[in-house]
Assembly symmetry: C2
Homo-oligomer: 150 residues x 2
């Protein structure tokens, strides 16, 4: 099990990759972000973006899936997240793009009241051309190692 | 059509509501955030949260859907978003919760290079008990009124 005490500030890791299909872009957007440049390949051609692009929230959701899969591989004692400090959708995500999640640990500190610790990290999703499409600084919580003195 | 020029700084609005079902929580989480407290009602009972809760990204996605529906009612000339400045998941969202989206316009400024303007707003999702479950400060882009001098 990976606990808060096992987190190393400054550590960087490549957590995984995912290829985004047109069908997945359309399914997410029709349910949660039905703007024509996310839901209609033809209408998207005449939009600002020149073609269909994924909802930014969809890119965040894909980042989360890669992140959870990495946590499961490491058996990390994840305990949720209070939120994110910033999120920038830097480039459009288009059908067929393969996104790779890179993460750097920026800071870690224990809770004063609960058996958990907070970890601030920078996550970047990079496409197959090496372009960063999403940059997030966020905080997650991990449980503390049970045998750690308070 | 509602263009950038029609945005009023300081304006507040109630944009809409949505009730979150257990089936929707499970479907989103199994695809994008498969942590047991989001995907398994039984396992969730023994978690930190004492029961099933929605993925924070799911709450953001529901906020986006309410927001897009409001934009469609107003015929707002939305042109995407560069990102969000902060996001805090303040309280768990549980099956059956009804979330209402409130928004306040904080700031608005035109692009120097493109026929769009930027709008910074604070969005809050409030549950049926009056608790704020999600608070986001973010930036969206709207097209400028076509007959506006540069």
């Amino acid at each position: 099990m990976k606990y808060f005490e096992d987190v190393r500030v400054g550590e960087t890791a490549v957590l995984g990759s995912s290829t985004v299909s047109e069908a997945e872009i359309l399914a997410f957007a029709r349910k949660y972000d039905p703007q024509p440049f996310h839901t209609d390949p033809e209408a998207a051609k005449t939009s600002f973006f020149g073609g269909l692009i994924a909802s930014g929230w969809h890119t965040c959701a894909i980042m989360m899936r890669i992140s959870v899969e990495a946590m499961q591989r490491e058996r990390a004692a994840g305990a949720g997240s209070p939120g994110i400090d910033s999120c920038r959708w830097l480039k459009p995500v288009r059908p067929g793009d393969t996104l790779t999640l890179n993460r750097e640990i920026l800071e870690a500190w224990p809770s004063r009241t609960k058996p958990i610790g907070f970890v601030r990290s920078r996550s970047e999703m990079v496409n197959q051309k090496g372009e960063t499409v999403l940059a997030i600084v966020g905080v997650t919580m991990l449980r503390r190692r049970p045998d750690t003195p308070a």
